[in-house]
């Protein structure tokens, strides 16, 4: 029988040694981009009350929560995402801060995944939330920050697909609730075939104009041309308003110089119910899953007692890690071998090298001479033996400095 204690739980993984190092550098790069755009930071607890998380939960997510109990028997969950915890913190703790709020975080989130899924249960979300700004410029900024991160970590070709809940909502609103739900589910599952089959079954309930609009909607994609096409099918003022929003967004993105990385997709639909306006997903080459996503959620904060327009986006750090340019080599590390007699000299020379910005390891070695590599040195009888010119030069400098000191 195999022992389970050797294994990781399904959906989790380890990051070791150089991989950890590279992952840490990636986090640093994202951190720097958010900081450079003037964002403030926050961190929130890994656990929240289930009631809190439920305010921003999609029905299918309920089964994905990791649940446990606190000492008084209330249900706690490992947070499945960050937007709701941020909304809670903002409404309860940041009431007096001037608006708009620009908030950033890099935090782990947890969702149970199906046993045969290759997705991970532990996802690090690197995200920003822009609260108290209802302009399309705020939405454009979120997209611009996402693009900034993707550019700074060299993921190569990427594209942000942008949709609008208002357009879908307007076209669906006159249909019976159950049909609306079924159509939304088809859009969410990206299943155009079942979407069209459902529409076809409802053909008698729907006017010609409505039918054509609903059929065309998921196929409308592109830039300004897509908005023009969508306007022809905007049979309701709410749909027209969505087109206005998207056009204003495109203008703002143009001002950022980002018009070419964005593509409208009128069939785009995301799982959270809290989205109220534009929403987006980002894709990079060689990854069949979104690398980032987000959108506008103007009604979520009022569930916590403070009505604030809000927009935001998150990057999936582990996915980003798999596609980023990882050719960057780690900083060089020196290895010093020392016998017992030479320890004081070796330790102070190691410290000197560390002050110069190098990583140094010291290994006690009393007997034989170790295999020499270009990064190693052997310290014996007060001297340094190494093939490495740089190390020899540093040792000369170090020795001269020591001599100077002892003279004074």
């Amino acid at each position: 029988m195999s022992s389970v204690y050797f294994e990781r739980p399904h959906g989790f993984r380890d990051y070791l040694l150089q991989e950890y190092e590279k992952r840490y550098r990636l986090e640093e790069k994202i951190h720097d981009v958010f900081l450079a755009w003037g964002y403030d930071w926050l961190t929130t607890p890994l656990l929240e009350y289930e009631e809190t998380i439920r305010q921003g939960l999609h029905k299918e997510e309920e089964e994905q929560l990791y649940r446990m109990f606190d000492s008084s028997g209330r249900t706690l969950v490992l947070r499945p995402e960050m937007t709701t915890p941020v909304a809670r913190a903002v409404t309860t703790l940041l009431g007096n801060e001037p608006l708009p709020l620009h908030l950033a975080y890099i935090e782990r989130t947890y969702r149970r995944v199906a046993a045969r899924s290759h997705e991970s249960s532990e996802v690090t979300q690197a995200g920003i939330e822009l609260l108290g700004d209802a302009t399309p410029d705020a939405d454009a900024e979120v997209l611009a920050v996402m693009a900034s991160v993707l550019q700074s970590v060299n993921v190569g070709h990427f594209r942000l697909a942008v949709g609008h809940t208002g357009f879908v909502g307007a076209l669906l609103q006159d249909l019976p609730e159950s049909i609306q739900q079924a159509l939304r589910l088809s859009l969410l599952r990206k299943d155009a075939v079942s979407y069209e089959q459902l529409l076809h079954q409802q053909r008698d309930l729907i006017s010609d104009r409505e039918y054509e609009a609903l059929l065309a909607m998921p196929r409308i994609r592109g830039g300004y041309d897509a908005i023009r096409e969508a306007r022809e099918h905007a049979i309701h003022p709410m749909a027209m308003k969505a087109c206005d929003d998207l056009e204003a967004l495109m203008d703002a993105l143009g001002a950022h110089g980002l018009a070419d990385v964005v593509q409208f997709d009128f069939g785009l639909y995301l799982e959270h119910d809290y989205y109220t306006g534009i929403l987006f997903e980002g894709y990079v080459q060689s990854l069949g899953l979104p690398i980032c996503f987000g959108g506008r959620y103007d009604r979520l904060l009022e569930r916590f007692g403070r009505s604030l327009p809000a927009t935001g986006g998150v990057l999936h750090l582990e996915r980003l890690f798999t596609v980023m340019d990882r050719s960057e080599t780690p900083a060089p590390r020196f290895l010093l071998f020392t016998g017992i007699e030479d320890r004081p000299l070796t330790y102070s020379f190691a410290q000197y090298l560390r002050q110069q910005g190098y990583a140094v390891r010291v290994v006690r070695k009393d007997d034989e001479l170790p295999n020499e590599s270009t990064m190693t040195a052997w310290m014996a009888n007060g001297n340094l033996n190494s093939q490495n010119k740089e190390l020899r030069r540093y040792f000369q400098e170090f020795a001269a400095m020591k001599e100077e000191k002892s003279e004074c």
Binding site: R159, K190, D191, A192, V193, S194, Q263, Y283, Q285, G288
Partner: protein, 203 residues
């Protein structure tokens, strides 16, 4: 160049005929060739010839931008891909079949090539069954007492009939589908939309 993973076997002939009508002529006869990769330089299309169950995996993982495969395979794989088009070819039913003197409520064991789909189906029915995964000649299972019934594709029903089985219930309409990788669908939107449009025009 767009890469299309084509499911070999049952669905390929009719799907290729449709693609030819749409102007996508493979450089060789896809059914006869022993090659696994074929390039059509003129239309900028690369064909991957794959076992049907592997097609959703190739597409989901991005080894192919598009895939042509039966809905039965998609139902079983439950992959995270775009389903773009029903090609309308390769039509048949995914059905429950068994001996004529019994019915679905008496079922305890089910033989099938579609274990995930079958388990999910009986779970929805609130019926506890044991799913037995079989790779071929599924009809044999009820004849030798391995299972009470089967969940399998039924085209004409002749195989069932010759083995003394009948269809109890049709579960799904199956046909050949065009699927797309989620990343490719956005990054190569222009190429994929053009391909889909041309295919839709000949349906």
């Amino acid at each position: 160049m767009l890469t299309i993973a084509m499911a070999k076997g049952r669905v390929m002939k009719a799907a290729v005929a449709l693609m030819e009508q749409a102007g996508y002529l493979p450089p060789e006869n896809l059914e006869k060739t022993r090659k696994l990769i074929l390039n059509d330089e003129k239309n900028q299309i690369r064909y991957l010839l794959a076992k049907p169950v592997d097609v959703p995996t190739y597409v989901e993982r991005g080894a192919a931008d598009l895939g042509v495969v039966g809905k039965d395979v998609l139902l079983e794989a439950n992959s995270d891909v775009h389903e773009l088009l029903d090609l309308g070819t390769g039509r048949c039913q995914l059905s429950i079949a068994g001996p004529p003197d019994r019915d679905i409520n008496q079922v305890r064991r089910v033989g099938t090539k579609y274990p995930n789909y079958t388990s999910a189906y009986f779970l929805r029915r609130n019926q506890q069954v044991e799913t037995i995964y079989l790779n071929g000649s599924v009809e044999l299972a009820p004849l030798i007492g391995l299972a009470d019934c089967i969940v399998d594709l039924v085209e004409t029903g002749r195989t069932l009939e010759e083995n003394g089985l009948v269809t109890w219930l049709s579960l799904e309409d199956i046909s050949t589908r065009l699927i797309a990788n989620r990343g490719s669908y956005q990054l190569r939107a222009e190429e994929i939309d053009r391909f889909t449009k041309r295919m839709r025009a000949v349906l």
